[in-house]
């Protein structure tokens, strides 16, 4: 859905989470959940006298990403200093790259296509560059009410890839689709793990027809992007409708309150005074280097999707949903490896598994389900041990606890009742308890369903549905015959 007159551009910051160390120093990049200011050194703390040295792997990863995003990789480039003061910046400048004043970013002129309701749209990527992540600010309550600010520099210096798009989005949804696709690509490259909190953040520029460009900062996940943009559309539209002009400003997305708040207006706009970082030397990328990176590049989602269609016979829609996340696609292929029924597996994953994850607000990776257990569950259905209904019932347990389906059904006695003897006893009881329904059922198909329902209720859904149906019909037939013969015999009595 495109919203009339809305233009959006994104600046996405992606942490290269597969790196072991920061961009310019040897501090561990594994900062999540660590005590504040325990992963810092003179370099990333911006201590006087410390000097940066570039992480080679970061450069390789960035080049790989640029190639995957169809960009032209620069042959010669250097880092720039972006000068601005802010408490999350240890040096009060950020080592970044720049596309003016003689600067050349890592890569330019790429694109990604997104698909929304069968409409394919090309989103242009104007540039990609490497830069360092600032530290983390902790506010006491909302940012505009916090009496002071706490600062943790563990995150400062983490390698960030900044991806800047042209203002090619016309709806918040398109922005979300783009981020999802970007995530999947980077995950396939093995440079990024989107399930880590704050690993993908973005700033968005948004303007409405007749309004002004507003920048929104601090959107910390792609789930938030749609919310923040929708809020901003409503806010700006409301102003415009009231005849109030929209101020050109930078606003902060307050995730907790789900609103944007003004950070600074145009008058205070920054002058970043970019200039080449004198403490780092230029980077010259040879043809061979780029070729080598290309050669080592793993399969990308698009190619994988085609392969899923070709070798597993999946419909395009299935293949697309599965490759939209590397975890999902990997999980799928693991399943197929154990049990070669791709469509069956895909069906379970696309409907029940995804829904169940969504309902529990979990990423596949965070859940405890394994390909082995999903396959086992499908096999239990196939061999007639459990019903589909039971399968759906135990799926959440599998996701939350990681227990095997066989073990769950056994310990909770959920195995399908397939014993004809037991079923016939149970059906007899149902018939006894519902004489009117039995009578109706002799003539009315609907009443048969009622009896099946009663049986299921009695067995807590464990009765084999096909068998139950068959036996109820058999036993009804027996009743009918019995009644018929008694009628026929009466005259003879």
């Amino acid at each position: 859905m495109s919203v009339q007159g809305v233009i959006i551009g994104l600046e996405v910051h992606v942490q290269l989470t597969s790196l072991k160390t920061k961009l310019f120093c040897g501090c561990s990049s594994d900062y999540r959940g660590k005590e504040p200011n325990t992963l810092v050194c003179p370099v990333c703390l911006g201590l006087p006298g410390a000097l940066p040295v570039l992480n080679r792997k970061a450069l390789e990863y960035a080049v790989m990403a640029a190639l995957a995003l169809n960009c032209k990789v620069s042959k010669r480039m250097f880092f720039f200093r972006k000068n601005y003061f802010y408490p999350d910046m240890p040096k009060n400048f950020q080592i970044s790259q720049y596309d003016r004043a003689g600067g050349v970013p890592l890569a330019v002129n790429g694109y990604l296509t997104i698909e929304d309701q069968n409409r394919v749209k090309k989103i242009r990527i104007s540039r990609i560059h490497l830069e360092e992540d600032p530290g983390r600010l902790v506010h006491l309550g909302p940012i505009d009410q916090s009496p002071y600010t706490l600062v943790d520099y563990n995150r400062a210096g983490i390698a960030l890839l900044e991806v800047v798009t042209e203002p090619d989005f016309n709806s918040p949804k398109e922005a979300r689709l783009f981020l999802q696709k970007l995530r999947s690509i980077l995950e396939h490259l093995g440079v990024f793990d989107g399930s880590l909190e704050g690993a993908m953040r973005c700033d968005a520029n948004i303007s409405l027809e007749g309004g002004t460009r507003v920048e929104i900062k601090n959107i910390t996940s792609f789930k938030e992007v749609e919310r923040a943009l929708n809020f901003e559309i409503l806010r700006q539209r409301d102003l415009l409708e009231k005849g109030i002009s929209v101020k050109r400003e930078t606003r902060h997305w307050d995730e907790a309150r789900r609103i944007t708040v003004s950070l600074r207006t145009k008058e205070e706009e920054q002058d970043y005074r970019y200039f080449p970082e004198p403490d780092l030397v230029p980077i010259v990328l040879s043809e061979e280097f780029i070729k080598d990176v290309k050669r080592r590049m793993p399969e990308l989602p698009e190619a994988r999707m085609r392969r899923f269609m070709l070798s597993y016979g999946l419909p395009r829609y299935d293949a697309e949903v599965l490759v939209s996340s590397k975890d999902l696609a990997d999980f799928f292929e693991e399943c197929v490896k154990i049990y070669n029924k791709p469509k069956k597996i895909s069906n379970w994953m696309m409907s029940d598994l995804l829904r169940c994850l969504y309902e529990n607000n979990l990423e596949l990776k965070e859940s405890k389900i394994t390909p082995q257990s999903l396959v086992e569950m499908i096999q239990l259905i196939e061999e007639g041990t459990i019903s589909v209904k039971i399968a759906k019932k135990i799926l959440p347990t599998m996701i939350l606890t990681g227990r095997s389906p066989r073990e769950i059904v056994e310990s909770e006695g959920l195995t399908k009742i397939t014993s004809r003897k037991l079923l016939s006893e149970l059906i007899a009881t149902v018939f006894r308890e519902n004489p009117k329904a039995v009578r109706d059922a002799l003539t009315n198909e609907k009443a048969v369903h009622f009896l099946v329902g009663q049986l299921m209720k009695k067995t807590k859904g464990k009765a084999d549905p096909a068998l139950a149906n068959e036996m109820i019909k058999e036993m009804l037939e027996a009743v009918r015959r019995k009644e018929g013969s008694s009628k026929a015999s009466t005259p003879s009595q």
Binding site: P36, L39, N55, F78, P87, P278, P282
Partner: protein, 97 residues
């Protein structure tokens, strides 16, 4: 008198960019001194640099890297030892907004 290179208002703006507060007297003095210095700096205007590329580095070093190997960080005590204000392992900064 020659047109000043930098006005008092510009000095105020630049000082704001540089996050340095200036007193009224300093603004006056700095504007005067800065104009004198900038006037001298503009001597470079007369140098013919047509087609000359800038020297960012005097060395022709390129591609200096480090491997992605973890080195020991500072202890938190060391990291915060020079901080004027701290709280629960964090540095304490003034309010943001």
């Amino acid at each position: 008198m020659k047109k000043p290179r930098i006005s008092r208002r510009e000095v105020e703006h630049i000082a704001w960019l540089a996050h340095i507060e200036l007193t009224e007297e300093e603004k006056t003095l700095f504007t005067e001194q800065l104009n004198e210095i900038l006037e001298y700096f503009r001597k470079i205007d007369s140098a013919d640099t047509e087609g000359v590329s800038p020297t960012y580095h005097v060395l022709d070093l390129v591609n200096v890297y480090r491997e992605d190997e973890v080195q020991e960080s500072l202890t938190r005590e060391e990291a915060l030892s020079n901080a004027p204000k701290k709280e629960r392992g964090f540095l304490k900064a003034p309010r943001i907004v």
